[in-house]
């Protein structure tokens, strides 16, 4: 899906930099994601990928640089780009950007179904008292129906009432994606969705991501170590190493880029 006409840009960072004391975890990052794209962020361990996610999603405020996002909900056209630098994570999610975490962060005392319900809380219209007194029971019912729909759509309905902590690893990852989708985003950020999955599950995940991309009209930014998955699914790839963006391009371009090969294999023996 290489871009032909000027697709709308949903996300971009402008020279975003994140320093922790003396460590520059991310340096001068310029990432762009266009509508409907799947973009991958790859790089060796400690390259700064998760930190890049954190400064995009508002967990951190970048030390320098800016982040722009075109807000909107899934299925609707995103609005004009606005700056989100320094906005809080919850506000950014409410604008239509959702994420998963590298080290799964489900609400572990809750069931699968409840996790999905919590993902919808941000859009609630009933106030506290109408929700408690049952005046908002229509909305509650709609939330429950939508949660069931989502579970069915994503093939999680058979574990609906299980405590999420008891799910196998692969399903937990899937549930985390489902929970992010429950917030109704236009842009989905996945931090190593295939981590801990076997090859079979990884192949399924590839289809799954493609499927939700078109079903929910998403753009996806994804961190991933499984190269098969990355090369198969990505429209474009950014490569980070020690916080620097060392390459950007299509999968074919990245596969043949000597700097990328070097970063992944260590310093070339005969260089």
């Amino acid at each position: 899906m290489s871009e032909t006409t000027a697709a709308r840009r949903v996300l971009h960072t402008e020279a975003a930099t994140m320093r922790f004391g003396g460590v520059t975890a991310v340096n001068n990052l310029n990432v762009e994601v266009f509508e409907g794209e799947i973009v991958a962020l790859i790089g060796p361990n400690g390259a700064g990928k998760t930190t890049a996610f954190n400064l995009i999603t508002g967990v951190y405020t970048p030390t320098e640089g800016k982040v722009f996002f075109a807000p909107g909900r899934s299925g609707e056209a995103p609005q004009a780009e606005t700056e989100i630098t320094g906005k809080k994570a919850d506000a950014i999610t409410r604008m239509g950007m959702a994420r998963t975490f590298q080290n799964i962060r489900l609400f572990k005392t809750q069931t699968v179904f409840e996790n999905i319900l919590i993902g919808q809380h941000l859009h609630i219209k009933s106030g506290l008292f109408s929700a408690v007194l049952g005046i908002g029971h229509k909305e509650e019912k709609a939330m429950r129906e939508r949660a069931d729909e989502l579970l069915q759509l994503l093939g999680l309905d058979h574990v609906r009432n299980e405590p999420c902590a008891s799910l196998p690893y692969g399903l937990q990852r899937k549930l985390e994606i489902a929970r992010a989708l429950a917030t109704n985003p236009t842009l989905l950020l996945l931090d190593e969705p295939a981590a801990g999955m076997n090859p079979q599950e990884t192949v399924e995940l590839t289809d799954f991501i493609r499927d939700i991309r078109s079903r929910f009209s998403l753009s996806v930014l994804m961190i991933e170590h499984h190269m098969d998955l990355v090369m198969d699914i990505s429209d474009r790839i950014y490569v980070l190493d020690f916080g620097q963006t060392i390459a950007a391009g299509t999968p074919a371009e990245i596969q043949n880029n000597p700097r990328v090969i070097e970063a992944y294999l260590g310093v070339d023996a005969d260089a």
Binding site: D90, R94, F101, L106, L117, H121, I124, A131
Partner: protein, 358 residues
């Protein structure tokens, strides 16, 4: 999907009716084996259950370690007492220095005074919440405890409003057993509905994982504030009831040890369990009364234990430590009572049972 009259529903209603009848009979003095002392203990049990619910909302359901309960109770207790007392009684109670004129003249029905007590506590918690709810864990505990102490010290020194260290006596004993159990029932229903609402789920999400909750678009500060204010409102109501039940209050009643007593109830019952809080409030409050003989000195066969004031508190503290060391979940963990659960105990376990029950 109208679940008009399912068996659990009928049972619940039946139990509530039974409770109401019992309470009515007790308050009419129709049950000779329940004397005034026992009624007083039952009232205290109900009040402590309400206070436990208040603390459980913040600590057990929202995962904030707050120990400010005593302060909010004090506010509720004083507001309720001073608004519900008649001007004549107030004039007699404030004999050292007369009460402020406007406050002395106020007199309103107990229910209004009680609601205002709860509201006053809620409003105060809103202002306290702004600085302290940005803190986490132990820091929040220290800050809230500190605020509760500040409130107590202020009350100690507002001679013309609170009567200072002498406290307020002759508070109308309106809160009889019917009041206490009615308010407790209301609070339990409110908590159950809250916890099972979308907001309650958001509270639990914050407790389970703040970062994930925030990533789900939940405004942490706003939701913590909601939980804190509701909890303080309930604490204020509990304090107001307590004032009426014990009929005399002093600032010293609301020392930080009170927060510790309530914490004991919540931890023993299970953080995040409404059932647990109510059960453990009754067990602990009743046990504390009936174990008074421990303090008076006793003999176990050849061993004679002399009079040691506070021995029963030592026993409760040891109990708390044991629970925290070996049985952190408390009686109920985060589980709730349900009729289905009760039936399942008596039914032989079969595979696939769970699905049929749903």
């Amino acid at each position: 999907m109208k679940k008009s009259l399912s068996l659990p529903r009928i049972l619940t209603i039946a139990c509530l009716v039974l409770l109401a009848v019992m309470v009515q009979l007790i308050s009419m003095g129709a049950l000779p084996f329940i004397d005034n002392y026992m009624i007083r203990v039952l009232n205290l049990c109900a009040v402590y259950a309400i206070l436990g619910l208040s603390m459980n909302l913040v600590n057990g359901f929202t995962g904030m370690f707050s120990l400010g309960q005593a302060g909010f109770m004090a506010v509720g207790a004083y507001v309720t007492a001073l608004f519900a007392m008649t001007p004549e009684v107030k004039e007699r109670v404030f004999y050292l220095e007369p009460i402020e004129e406007w406050l002395g003249a106020i007199h309103m029905p107990f229910i209004v005074a009680l609601l205002l007590g709860g509201l006053a506590a809620a409003v105060l918690s809103f202002f306290i919440g702004f600085p302290v709810l940005r803190l986490k864990g132990d820091y929040l505990a220290i800050a809230t405890l500190g605020f509760a102490e500040i409130i107590r010290i202020i009350f100690l020194n507002l001679q013309t409003i609170t009567n200072g260290a002498m406290g307020v006596k002759n508070i109308p004993p309106t809160a009889d057993i019917r009041w206490c159990f009615a308010v407790l029932t209301l609070m339990v229903v409110f908590m159950l509905r809250l916890i099972n609402s979308s907001y309650g789920r958001a509270f639990k999400a914050i407790r389970d994982d703040e970062i994930a909750a925030e990533a789900m678009g939940i405004n942490l500060f706003k939701h913590k504030m909601m939980s804190f204010i509701l909890s303080s409102f309930i604490a204020g109501i509990g304090g107001g009831l307590m004032a009426s039940v014990v009929s005399a209050i002093t600032p010293n009643l609301f020392r930080f040890t009170l927060a510790y007593d309530i914490l004991l109830i919540v931890v023993l019952g299970g953080q995040g369990s409404i059932t647990g809080t109510v059960v453990s409030a009754f067990v602990i409050t009743a046990a504390k009364e009936w174990l008074r003989w421990l303090d008076a000195g006793f003999s176990l066969g050849p061993i004679t234990v002399p009079e040691i004031a506070g021995l029963r508190m030592v026993i409760f503290s040891v109990l708390l430590m044991v629970i925290i060391l070996f049985y952190r979940q408390g009686f109920f963990g985060s589980r709730e009572f349900s009729w289905e659960g009760l039936f399942n105990i008596f039914r032989p376990k079969k595979k696939g049972d769970k699905k049929e029950a749903a």
